[in-house]
């Protein structure tokens, strides 16, 4: 596996969008092996602390291993220091792990802390870049089309959810390696990580 010369093949769509007071995060449910759909209900959004989440694209084993490590590290940090890790802290920690031992993944670390809400995109070798919105995976070009058109600074929670859902719908339509429904979650400092229920998703998607 040579990661330096080859662009990471991910076969996934994940998205993170900041809004006024929090962040919306989402991902599709499809796992592929070449042209074969290996699984139709994969979890790609992982809660790693009360108000920080991770989305994963790339090798499932590497992604799951990282999510376990991060969840444990963030919990220990919080227990020892009596205050939660910041999103920037979590992104830097993840980047440091990846610099030490590259994983075949493309990640988003998203969340809310005392400094506001943010989205960090993290590459396989530990590059970490903060942004106000970001999309990863093979479906990202289609999602960026929606994002470039519809993202606004200081959107409401509802508008950010709509943009995320539209973007994921677009990639499900046009990217062969994305689809089979989606997970969507909202993170705010006060309410923490809230995954949308099936009913909430149906209501949201029918409102588009």
């Amino acid at each position: 596996m040579d990661m330096s010369s080859e662009v990471v093949k991910t076969g996934t769509s994940t998205i993170g969008i900041t809004f006024d007071g929090g962040v919306v995060v989402g991902a599709d449910h499809r796992a592929t092996m070449g042209h074969f759909i290996a699984n139709k209900s994969v979890q790609k959004v992982f809660q790693i602390s009360n108000s920080i989440a991770l989305t994963t694209a790339g090798l499932v084993g590497h992604a799951q291993s990282l999510s376990r490590t991060l969840a444990s590290e963030l919990r220990l940090y919080e227990l020892k220091r009596d205050s939660p890790m910041t999103v920037k802290g979590a992104a830097t920690l993840t980047a440091n792990i990846l610099v030490g031992r590259p994983h075949h993944v493309q990640l988003l670390i998203v969340g809310a802390d005392k400094d506001g809400s943010s989205v960090y995109s993290i590459d396989a070798a530990g590059g970490s870049i903060p942004d106000v919105y970001c999309a990863t995976g093979s479906g990202s070009p289609y999602m960026y089309g929606v994002l470039e058109d519809q993202y606004r600074d200081n959107m409401s929670r509802e508008d950010a959810l709509k943009v995320a859902a539209k973007a994921l719908l677009a990639s499900a339509q046009r990217d062969a390696a994305s689809g089979n429904g989606m997970d969507l979650a909202v993170i705010t400092l006060d309410d923490g990580f809230k995954l949308l229920t099936e009913e909430e998703k149906i209501t949201l998607l029918s409102s588009l």
Binding site: A71, S72, R75
Partner: protein
Amino acid sequence: MALEFMQPSGRGYDHGVSTFSPDGRLYQVEYARESVKRGTTTVGLKYKDGAVLIVDKRISNKLVITDSIEKMYQIDDHIGMTTSGLVADARQLVDKARVQCQINRMTFGSPISMITLVKKMCDYKQSFTQYGGARPFGTALLIAGVDDEGVHLFETDPSGAYQSYQAGAIGRGRTTVIDHFEKSWKNGMTQNAAIKLGLEALQESLEDSLNKDTVEISIVDANGYNKLDRETTLKHLSKFK
């Protein structure tokens, strides 16, 4: 006179951690237990749906900022711990316990069971009584937690021995508290009754009265570990007085 009295069994056998005396005792371990007996009294007791841990931080100096002293520790979502003895030693054990809980989550994807954690901690403590080079921990732990088997309350001592209790205590006032619990602890108490009994027993073991600013109460039940906030703690204390 006192020295001569100690000579036959004791002399020379309390230097090494890992050397038995001729009558089969490990003096350094016994001395470590003494430091627990000089420690803050902390109590724990089970009730109908969970377990209560209570400690009075006993800060004698008015100038000390009470929040800077820790005696009640959350170890994982479902486990809490109080300690008696050397506070610095206790912090090492608390760190170790927290890491063990996360290692279990990372390795097996599930929260650690109480008996697994207690055995891990006691294996660690025991190793300092069998190998030379470092002294034993001068610390006892009172660990309360909930797992698939239910609610548990464990006590560990510096040798690495552990026991599970319905109601227990460690530290200076242990004997008084245990006597009190033996008389008054009942199966199936309510949470409020358990807190009241715990406070009573703790109070009985102290020369002066409980300090309302330094008493800490934690609950472990099906919802996990929860340290009561100041307001709720004061409410319990006022009911008790």
